[in-house]
Structure formats: C-alpha cells, structure tokens
C-alpha cells in the first residue's frame, strides 16, 4: 500500500455549507407547505402535501437501499471489481435507517390519520366495496404497519451488519483462512438481504406503499418497475459520489474501468426499466379494460401527458442513445450529467406515480416538490459525507482489493 493513498475523507466546509443551505431551503418549503397546504381545511390540498412528502421519502429510501442491493449481489457473486468503491455504496446505504424512519412516520401518519390517499383504510367504504373487501387480506392497516416496520427495520439492520463486517477489512492483513471466513460472513448477510429485498422491494413494498393509492387498480409489473427505477437511480447516485471523490483526489484505485461498469449498469437498467414500462403499458392499452385503463387515462390523455412522455424520453431515450458508445461510459463529465438526469428523471417518475393518482385533475409540480427534494438532497449529502468520513475510503485488507485494482473491462 503506497503511503500517498488518501484513506480518510475530510468533509470540505463548502460541502457542509451546501448541505445546510439545501436543508434550509427544504425546511422553509416544508413549513410553508405545511401552513398553506398541510393545515388547509381542504382535504385535497392536505393529500397533495402528504403525497409530496410520501413520494420523496419513498424515492430516497429506496435509492439508498439500492446501494445495499448493489453491495449484496456483488458479494453474493464473489465479485471483486466493486471493492475499491465499496465504501461509497456502504456510506450511501447508511442513509437507509434515517430515510426509512422518515418514511415510516409519514406512511403511518397517512394510514392512520384517515387521509384519503389510502382509500382502503376507510373500513366503511371497504365493507361496501366488493373489490376492496376481496383485497382486505393484504390491504389492511395491521398488515401494512407490520410489514412496513419489518421491511425498513430489516433493511437497516442488515445494512448495519454488512457495514460492521466490512470494517474488519481495515483491521489487519488476513491470511487465506481468515480471508475466506471474512468473505463467507459477508455472503451470509448478503444472501439474507437479497431474499428479503425480493420479498419487499421486488414485490410487496411498492404494492403496499404506492400502488395501493389506486386501491382498485393493480399491475403485477408495478414492483419490478419500481425496482428498476430505484436501482438505476441508486447506481447513478453511487457514480456521482465516486466522481466527486475522484475529483477531490480520493479513491486512487477507482478508475475509468470502474466508471465504465457503473455506466453499463445505468445503460442496461435504463433499458430494463423501459422494458417493464412498456410491458405494463402495452398489455393494459391492448386489453382496454376500463378498470385497468383508469390508471393511464389521465396520465396519457389528461393533464399528466407532458410529464408522462418526458419521463420516457429522460429515462429511456437519453440513456439509450447517449450511453450506447463506450467512450461516453468512460467520460467523467458525461456520466455526471447522465447520473443527474437519471436521478431527476426517476424522481419525476415517482412524482407522476404518486401525485398522478392523488391529484388527477391538475399537475401540482411546483415549489413544494422542489423544496422537499432539496431537503432530501441536503440530508443525503450531509449523511453520506458523514458516513464516508467515519471510515477509511478503501478497505485496505479486503481479500478482493487486488482484483478491483487491476480491473479491466
């Protein structure tokens, strides 16, 4: 290990200031939103306010959790290439407990406050509704609460375990036996996490948290669609942090080869996202059943038309055409631009998925949305930089570090 390697990240004061400014803007927007919309006597205004909080917090929880998924599947496959940037994804996954707690509070408030967002919480209405009473085994407050607490709790716990085990790679050189034990330890946590991830993000969680806003409507594609959405933005977030740290002179072992692989993930999963988008849309469009088409009616032909197609252009056409060439996946500037674009695009996607169901008549995208977004971005920058500073940036004695250093695509 060369002595010139910078292992410890020091948070620049500029970054701290920026995160405070962003959070400040966010808090001002939150308070203004609470006064003008949240405490309004109009139930619809209230719902829009809660919905805005909902989709932001769900989005940021899930994309930070995608980092943990990234670590887990790489660990599970005994992959070595990501080791040099592993600490970045670990730091991002450290945000899951914080964002998760916020999500939990907001979702439980929405479910218990008798807000109109979750129509299925209204027991009176469910009793007289054949479809909703048929779904009540899944869509009921008890199951919703337990499953949400379990999901967020286990994501946080397994992420914490993973980060704790990873810290062993800083302690000292491992012999073959110790290295093997270390990897197996990682693999065990990763395996449990992947199963739990499949049961939550891969299936039930998007159904419960977001699809149930349209309580009568359903799509089996919905969870996979949301998984693809959050995974691709999660990778974009990792790429942004990696590029930032590279710019500051850290992460000497991470180079264009690693960036290329992150770019490939963004390229591939943007196409995967579009595939799911289309599979969901085309089947519903083709069969043209009123109870199914209702979800797309106001999105494709109503006020959300612009956002709906903008979403497709940002999240599919742009990555497809721009990331197709090898040089663009290896170009720091272009990857930065695309990462920001992809995160913004999927944020817009979350906006239209949640608010599109709450406020069907008009698009509410405005100062509140961007204010809350800035609150979350500020918290993310603050939290991730803190987590990065708490540990060496490179797991010095990780058995696969060499493989990552000589990685070649």
């Amino acid at each position: 290990m060369a002595s010139s390697i910078k292992l410890n990240f020091e948070i620049p004061s500029k970054m701290k200031t920026w995160s405070y400014v962003l959070m400040g803007i966010g808090i001002v927007a939150l308070i203004a939103g609470l006064v003008t919309k949240g405490m309004s006597t109009d139930q619809h205004e209230k719902d829009v306010f809660l919905g805005t909080l909902m989709y932001n917090t769900i989005f940021w929880t899930l994309i930070c959790n995608a980092s943990m998924f990234f670590i887990s599947f790489n660990t599970m496959a005994w992959a070595g290439w990501h080791v040099s940037l592993k600490r970045v994804s670990e730091a991002i996954s450290a945000m899951v407990p914080i964002f998760g707690a916020i999500t939990l509070v907001i979702l439980l408030y929405v479910a218990f406050s008798g807000s109109h967002i979750y129509h299925w919480t209204d027991t009176e209405a469910v009793a007289h509704d054949k479809i909703l009473s048929g779904k009540s085994g899944f869509l009921n407050i008890k199951f919703f609460t337990i499953w949400t607490v379990l999901a967020i709790g286990l994501w946080s716990f397994l992420g914490w375990r993973m980060r704790k085990i990873s810290a062993m790679a800083d302690e000292g050189a491992m012999n073959k036996q110790a290295g093997h034990t270390f990897i197996i330890k990682n693999v065990k946590v990763a395996a449990v996490f992947l199963v739990w991830f499949g049961l939550t993000v891969g299936s039930t969680i998007p159904w419960l948290w977001m699809m149930s806003i349209d309580a009568h409507w359903f799509s089996t594609m919905y969870s996979w669609y949301n998984f693809a959405s959050t995974f691709v933005s999660g990778i974009a977030l990792i790429a942004l942090w990696v590029i930032y740290l590279k710019n500051k002179g850290y992460l000497e072992y991470t180079n264009q080869e690693h960036l290329h692989d992150l770019g490939k993930y963004m390229f591939a999963f943007s196409i995967f996202w579009a595939y799911l988008w289309f599979s969901q849309y085309m089947l519903i469009w083709y069969s043209n059943q009123p109870e199914e088409v209702i979800y797309f009616k106001h999105r494709v032909q109503g006020p959300y038309k612009g956002i709906f197609f903008l979403n497709l252009i940002i999240n599919f056409i742009c990555p497809l055409l721009i990331f197709m060439k090898r040089v663009s996946k290896r170009n720091y500037t272009l990857v930065t631009f695309m990462s920001v674009l992809i995160i913004f695009g999927h944020w817009i996607d979350y906006y239209q998925q949640v608010i599109g169901s709450i406020s069907k008549e008009h698009v509410t995208l405005g100062w509140l949305d961007f204010g809350i977004l800035s609150l979350f971005v500020g918290m993310m920058i603050f939290g991730v930089s803190k987590a990065l500073a708490s540990k060496p940036l490179i797991p010095k004695y990780h058995p696969f570090l060499k493989e990552s250093v000589i990685h070649h695509t």
Binding site: F278, Y281, M282, W285, Y286, N288, M324, K325, R326, H408
Partner: protein, 195 residues
C-alpha cells in the same frame, strides 16, 4: 494476394508477451498480428489496433431494421389494408413495438455477424495461413511482417532475447484462398523455405 516474409515468435506466457509486444513496437518492427488461444484483455490496445467500427455498423443495421419494420407495418395497416382491430386506431404504435424491436434486433444481429465475417475474412472454404498450430492450443504467436529494411536474423534474435521460446522465419500467403484444410499441402510447404 501475395506471398510475404514473416518472422514468427512463440511465447508460452502472457506476462512475457506484453513486454515483448511493447518492445517490438518501440524498436519499429511491423506487427502483422498476435495469435492467441483465447481473447487476451488489453492486447488489442497493446498492438495498436484501432477501435473496431463494428458497433457503429450494428447501430446502423438496427436503425435500418427499425425503419423497415415501422415503414412496412404502418404502410400496411394505414394505407394498403386498414383493418378495424378491436376499435384500435389504425396507427396502433404500442402494438407494433414488439415487432419493431424484433426486426431491429434481427437486422443488427445478422448484419453484424455478416460484417464481422467480411472484416475477418471468414467464409466456408476460405483459408488462411496458420503460422503455428499451437496458437489454437497453448502458445501466443507474435508475427512480424518483414519490410525491405527488416533483417530477419536480427528480428529472430530480438524475439528470442525477449522471451520467445520458438522462433522461425517463413514465407507465407498474406491473404486468403479457397481450399480445404484436409487436402492442403500449402500450409506446410513454406516451413522449409527460410530466406
């Protein structure tokens, strides 16, 4: 097609091959090619080959497929033979996307395979000279193409000094010819010719 003189050096280790390739290039010999039993990462850059344009060709073929499918289907369903299918509009784009996608993939895949075969001169009965049969097994074979100024003895000793375990000079067909491997003596005849 013409016969040319080549100096052939065989390496049994990848670690020796890379520095040798680098040195051969700095000294100024012209590398014809390096034949390896398996794809070696980074070798193409080391030899100084330019980036292939096969991807660009693939993109153009794909685009051609998209245009063909879209043009064909939309002409049939809106101009030539409009049918009412379940009350859908005649220009029913979402329903066509799977076909458009398939044709895009088909065009780009078949086009790229054919272009690849053309670029690497591969076809049934097209034959090329093998500099060393063990290039298909366990040897890395570096071939230097001789110019008027190349001194073959010098080149041979240069290669063996840089880790080559077997060195030879031979005159061989540079291009391709039609023939069959089981009935071809040409492959072995040049072995005895040392210029």
């Amino acid at each position: 097609m013409a016969k040319k003189k080549f100096v052939v050096g065989c390496f049994d280790k990848e670690e020796l091959l890379f520095p040798a390739v680098k040195k051969v290039r700095t000294v100024g010999y012209k590398i014809k090619d390096v034949y390896t039993p398996y794809p070696v990462h980074g070798l193409d850059q080391a030899i100084g080959m330019r980036e292939t344009s096969l991807h660009t060709a693939g993109f153009i073929y794909g685009l051609l497929g998209t245009i063909t499918a879209l043009g064909c289907i939309s002409w049939i369903f809106t101009k030539d033979w409009p049918l009412d299918i379940g009350g859908k509009p005649h220009f029913a784009l979402p329903a066509w996307i799977p076909i458009i996608f398939e044709l895009t993939v088909l065009f780009s895949a078949v086009g790229m395979v054919l272009t690849f075969c053309y670029l690497s001169q591969l076809a049934p009965f097209v034959k090329k000279h093998h500099f060393h049969a063990r290039a298909t097994d366990d040897l890395f074979v570096l071939v230097i193409e001789c110019t008027e100024t190349t001194n073959t003895d010098e080149a041979e000793s240069f290669l063996s000094n840089n880790g080559s375990i077997e060195v030879k000079t031979e005159i061989a067909e540079d291009g391709w010819w039609f023939g069959r491997y089981d009935k071809e003596e040409k492959l072995f005849e040049s072995n005895s010719v040392v210029a």
